[in-house]
Amino acid sequence: MTLLQKIKNIVRSRSIHVCYVDVGSCNGCDIEVLACLSPRYDIEQYGIVVHNNPREADILLIIGAFTPGWEDKLRMVWDRIPAPKAAVAIGNCPVSGCCFNRPGSLVDPPVSKHIPVAASVPGCPPRPTEILSAILSIAPTVFRDYEVNQ
């Protein structure tokens, strides 16, 4: 492994930019992601910055059970994120549709049908600590030696 790769590995594990996109949830998970920003959980002490801008994101948090309004737009958001990137599904909705996945509803879960999902945090909603630990454990795994693996 080159020195440059080593530096990249260190830097990438300390600077994770996050974008979250709600594709049709009850917004309970949204506010749990927001709660991660609070001084109690303090997401920024781990080097995670929530910008909510796809163009500078490394990790995309997907919340919700995929509604028809996002049919082409989620793909667009995903394509705008520069590589290396990973998507994390937050809550039950992106995994199974939770209580919304019934005959007659408009949702189309799971989200992994539409874009590749690297990890999921089940829960309705998951606690902020679980969201934090998921981001922290997925980021080094996906970003380590990215250029070498390519």
Partner: protein, 362 residues
Amino acid sequence: MNRRTVDVSIPLGPVHPCFKEPARIKCETRGEYVLSAEVELGYMKKGIERIMKGRPWQEVMFLAERVCGICSVIHNMVFIEAMESISAIEVPDRAAMLRVVANELDRMQSHLLANFSYCYTIEHETLAMYLLDQRETVMDMLERLTGARVTCAYIVPGGVRADILPDDMNFITSGLRELEKNISRYMRMFETAPLIGLRSRSIGNLTLEAASRAHAVGPTARASGINEDRRLFHPTYKRLCFQPVTRKEGDNYARIMVRFQEVMQSIGIIRQCLSGLPHGKVRGGGTCSAGAVRYSGEAPRGELTYEITTDDAGRVVEIAIQTPSIMNIEVCTHDLLTGAESIADVTSIFVSCDPCIACTER
């Protein structure tokens, strides 16, 4: 034909740093001036009312909570109280008081989140983080009382799910003392800070006439001087001699201050409930039966109405939900965003109305 000169058409969203939820605002501008604005919804439509139909109330209760994650307690409360009024189920006094405690805690966390979003949008991150930290204290209290942070399903027909323990009562009382001290400090910070004043005072003016013409609800209406609150008609709140908070200014500043004052008022209401908590059971029992009702309650964002028809087995045959945000989003688009002095104020005006897209679209 009248033609307008439009400089730039600026779309904001659906993924935007200032919005918690996806919505798209399309603004047509001439220079800084906003000629017209339009809010485009449809990113969150799940069809909850469609899947509620034909299901027993036990299932609909959980679906009703998941209409909105921020104000889940009030959705639970209004749905269950509507079922109770259909079936003539009596609620024990102790349970009625505990419902008010849960509801006011939920209102506090929702208002603190709304004020956090506003401060974050006008880039006053310090105050925003202070408020978000206080919200965590409220979430702790809610968790001690109900057992969950967000969707807690605390209220069931004929009472509440669990009684409050003496330990939790002490936790809430001491938490409220701390909260009152801190929130009044942050309120003073917001009131007196000159830069916040520049970004908030006389921006997004909503007159009394415009607000009543468009049927604005909740803090948005009360900040323009409309004295309306569904809690005035609720039997438990009547016993607590509840009076709504109103202000006259009608700008961004007033809307945020109304929320701050309501948080302080909620602290008083919870204290009143806990100090005069009657003894007795918290679950009276009962059977849900057939009937139809239209029932309203005051959500943190305004009037929330459920219109329910049930059959003999307690199944929901017809249901229609009217949520407060749809009114406020309309008011915001037509009276506040259209004609805004600067495009830079569009996000802060939109956030000051506290729109909840998940509620609106369901």
